[in-house]
C-alpha cells in the first residue's frame, strides 16, 4: 500500500473512532441526574419556560433523536450550547482557554522530543559509561515522579528558593496581552513584533512545561536507548561497518531511523496524555488553560462545557494519534506495505 491510501484508511478509522467518542460523551452527558433545562434556568423559573427550553434543546425527543440534533448542531455550527458556569457559549470559552493549553503542551512536546531523543542517543552512544549511568538514573527518577510532583518541586526551587521564574499566570500581572491572532501569547507577540512580551510569556511557560515534559521525556530517553542498543547488534549494521560506510552515516541513517519507531509511538501517546495531566500543573501554576477550565466545569456539573472540553481534547488526541501513525509508517515501510497499523 502506498502512503496516500494508507493515510486515507487511517483517516477513515479516525472518523469512526470520533463518532464512537461522540456517542460516549453524549451518553455521559445524558446520564447526569437532573433536567439540563431546569439546571440551566434555575429552580425559580416557571414550568412553561423550562418546557420551552426543553423543546428548544430537543429534550422531549427520544435519545437517538436527541443525539442526532446534538451532533448536527456541532457539525454545522460548532455549537456546543452555553456554559452554565460562565454563562457564555462553550465555543467562546474554549476559544479563549484552548490556545493557552496548546501553547503549553506545544512547548512540552518540543522538550519531550528534543531532549528525550538526544538523551537517549547520548546514552546509547556512551553505553555503560558513567554518562549512560547518570542519564539512566535520571530518567528512572523522571518516569516515576508524576508531573504534579515535579511542579511542586520545581516551583519550590526555582520560584521561591532561587527567584528565577515567575510562579503563576501567563504574563506578569498588569502586562497587557498582545493583540489576539491565534490566542497563543508567544506566537501573537512575535506576530506583533513585541519581543519583550514574547519573553515574558515564554518565561511563564518554562517551568510548567518542564514539569509536564520530565516524565514522558525520561520515558522517551529510555526507549530510544534500549531500541538503539537492540539494533546496534543487528547483522545489517555489522555489514554496513564491514563495507566501510562512514560511522556517522551508519548511526544516523541506518541505526537511528529504525530505532525511533517505538519511541515515537510512545511519545505521541504521551504528548496526547499530557493534555489530560496538564490540569494539575495548570492549577499549581495558576495557568488559565483549558484543562483548568475543564476541572472547574466538571466540579460544577456544567454539562455542555464538560462535553465541549472532552470533545476538543478527544479530537486533539485522535489527530495526534493519526499524525504518529503516519510518521511511523514513513519510518517503517513494513507497516505500510502490509497494510497493518499496529
Amino acid at each position: 500500500m502506498r502512503l496516500g491510501p494508507f493515510i486515507l484508511r487511517r483517516l477513515a478509522l479516525s472518523i469512526f473512532v470520533l463518532f464512537g467518542l461522540s456517542i460516549l460523551i453524549f451518553l455521559i452527558a445524558r446520564v447526569i441526574p437532573g433536567d439540563p433545562a431546569r439546571m440551566a434556568l434555575g429552580p425559580r423559573t416557571p414550568v412553561d419556560v423550562v418546557e420551552k427550553l426543553r423543546q428548544k434543546m430537543h429534550l422531549d425527543k427520544s435519545l437517538p433523536q436527541q443525539y442526532g440534533f446534538w451532533l448536527r448542531d456541532i457539525i454545522t455550527r460548532g455549537d456546543l450550547g452555553d456554559s452554565l458556569l460562565t454563562r457564555r457559549p462553550v465555543k467562546q470559552d474554549i476559544r479563549e482557554f484552548f490556545p493557552a493549553t496548546l501553547e503549553l503542551v506545544g512547548l512540552t512536546a518540543i522538550f519531550i522530543v528534543v531532549f528525550g531523543i538526544s538523551l537517549g542517543v547520548i546514552s546509547a552512544r556512551y553505553a555503560n559509561t558513567w554518562v549512560d549511568k547518570v542519564v539512566r538514573l535520571f530518567s528512572y527518577l523522571g518516569i516515576v515522579t508524576p508531573a504534579f510532583a515535579w511542579a511542586v518541586i520545581l516551583m519550590l526551587l526555582f520560584c521561591f528558593v532561587w527567584y528565577l521564574f515567575p510562579s503563576y499566570g501567563r504574563l506578569t500581572e498588569g502586562v497587557i496581552p498582545p493583540v489576539t491572532i491565534t490566542g497563543m501569547y508567544t506566537i501573537d507577540s512575535l506576530l506583533n513584533g513585541r519581543l519583550d512580551l514574547f519573553w515574558d510569556a515564554f518565561v511563564h511557560l518554562i517551568l510548567p512545561a518542564i514539569a509536564l515534559a520530565l516524565p514522558p521525556m525520561s520515558q522517551a530517553a529510555r526507549l530510544t536507548r534500549s531500541s538503539m542498543a537492540d539494533n546496534q547488534n543487528k547483522d545489517y549494521i555489522a555489514s554496513m561497518i564491514a563495507y566501510g560506510v562512514p560511522s556517522r552515516i551508519v548511526s544516523r541513517k541506518y541505526l537511528l531511523k529504525p530505532s525511533l519507531i517505538s519511541p515515537l509511538t510512545v511519545m505521541g501517546l504521551d504528548i496526547a496524555a499530557t493534555f489530560g495531566y496538564a490540569f494539575m500543573v495548570e492549577q499549581i501554576f495558576a495557568f488559565p488553560g483549558l484543562a483548568r477550565y475543564g476541572i472547574q466545569v466538571m466540579l460544577n456539573k456544567d454539562v455542555n462545557a464538560i462535553v465541549g472540553v472532552v470533545m476538543v481534547l478527544g479530537v486533539v488526541f485522535i489527530i495526534l494519534n493519526l499524525t504518529i501513525d503516519i510518521l511511523v509508517s514513513y519510518l517503517d515501510p513494513r507497516i505500510r506495505l502490509l497494510g497493518r497499523s499496529s
Binding site: G20, I28, T145, A149, V152, I153, F279, I284, M298, F317
Partner: protein, 301 residues
C-alpha cells in the same frame, strides 16, 4: 520408562517440591538485582504502613476531623516529622492514612478492570479476524482514545465525588489496556500447536481460553499489575487533587498537595511531603514491577 524413573531423583517427581524449587530459583533471580530488592523493601514498607496505619501513625486521630490551632503550620521537627498543616494536623500521619486509601483504591480498581479487560482481550484474541474481534477491539479503541484521566474525571464528575465512584471511574478507563495486551498475546498464542492440539481433541472453548491461552499470558499480566498499582495510585492522586475521591477530612495525597499549594512558599512542607510520598510509592512499585518482569521473562538472548 522404568529405568528412566529410577535415575530421576524423587524430589523432582513431587510437584510441591518442584514448585518450591522454581520459587527458589525465581527468588534468586529477583534478588540478584539490588534495584528490585529496593523496590520490594519500599513496597513492604508502604503496605506495612497502610495496613497498620492506626498503630504506626504518630497521631492517628489527625486523619479525621481534628483541629488544633495551637500547633498549626509547624515546620518539620522531631515532634512532627513532616510538620503540621494549616489546622494543626500532623502531615506524616495523614500521609500514612492516605497510603491506606490509595492502596485500597488500587486493589479495587485492578480487581475490577483486570478480569474484565483480560476476558474481553482473550475472547477477541481467540476469535481474531471475526466480527467478535472487530466489535470488542473498536469499542476498546474508543475508550482508549480519551485520555484516562479525562475519562475518569468526567465520569467521577457526573456521579458523586466519593471514593467508590472514583474507583468505578478509574476502572472504566483502565480495562481497555488489559484488553489490548491480552488481545495481542492471545491472537498469537492461538496459533501455537498446543492450542490446535487441544482443539482437535475436542476441548471446550472455556478450557482452551482459560487453561491453554490464559496461563501463557500470566507473566505479562503479573508484571503489568505490579506496575499498575503505582499508576492507579497516581491517577487516584490526580483525581483527589481536584476534590474527587476520598472526601475531607479524610486525607488524600492529591488533596493534600492542592491545599498545600496555597501555603507555598512559607509552609512548603504541606505540599512537598505528599508529593514526595507519591514519588516514593510509584518508585517502589515500578522497581518491584521491573524486578518481577525480569524474573518472569525467559532468559535474555
Amino acid at each position: 520408562m522404568m529405568t528412566e524413573k529410577m535415575f530421576t531423583p524423587n524430589a523432582i517427581e513431587n510437584p510441591r517440591v518442584r514448585r518450591l524449587d522454581s520459587l527458589k530459583k525465581s527468588w534468586y533471580k529477583f534478588s540478584r538485582n539490588w534495584l528490585s530488592l529496593l523496590g520490594l523493601v519500599i513496597v513492604v514498607i508502604i503496605v506495612f504502613l497502610a495496613v497498620f496505619a492506626p498503630y504506626v501513625a504518630p497521631y492517628p486521630q489527625h486523619a479525621g476531623k481534628f483541629i488544633d490551632f495551637k500547633f498549626m503550620n509547624q515546620p518539620p521537627s522531631w515532634q512532627h516529622l513532616m510538620g503540621t498543616d494549616e489546622i494543626g494536623r500532623d502531615v506524616f500521619s495523614r500521609i500514612i492514612f492516605a497510603y491506606r486509601s490509595a492502596l485500597f483504591m488500587a486493589i479495587v480498581v485492578l480487581a475490577i478492570s483486570v478480569p474484565f479487560g483480560t476476558l474481553a482481550g482473550l475472547i477477541a484474541g481467540y476469535y481474531s479476524g471475526s466480527w467478535i474481534d472487530t466489535v470488542i477491539m473498536r469499542v476498546t479503541d474508543v475508550f482508549i482514545s480519551i485520555p484516562p484521566i479525562l475519562l475518569a474525571l468526567s465520569i467521577a464528575a457526573v456521579l458523586r465525588p466519593t471514593l467508590v465512584n472514583t474507583m468505578i471511574a478509574v476502572s472504566v478507563s483502565w480495562w481497555p489496556w488489559y484488553t489490548r495486551m491480552t488481545y495481542s498475546l492471545a491472537s498469537s498464542i492461538k496459533n501455537e500447536f498446543y492450542v490446535h492440539a487441544a482443539e482437535i481433541t475436542g476441548a471446550s472453548k472455556t478450557h482452551i481460553l482459560f487453561h491453554e491461552i490464559l496461563p501463557n499470558c500470566s507473566s505479562s499480566l503479573f508484571t503489568k499489575i505490579a506496575l499498575d498499582i503505582g499508576w492507579v495510585t497516581l491517577v487516584g492522586a490526580a483525581l483527589s487533587f481536584v476534590g474527587l475521591g476520598e472526601q475531607p477530612p479524610k486525607p488524600g495525597l492529591g488533596d493534600m498537595i492542592s491545599k498545600g499549594i496555597e501555603r507555598m512558599p512559607a509552609q512548603w512542607w504541606i505540599a512537598l511531603f505528599p508529593a514526595l510520598a507519591i514519588m516514593f510509592l510509584v518508585l517502589g512499585f515500578n522497581l518491584f514491577g521491573d524486578g518481577i518482569r525480569d524474573t518472569l521473562s525467559p532468559e535474555e538472548g
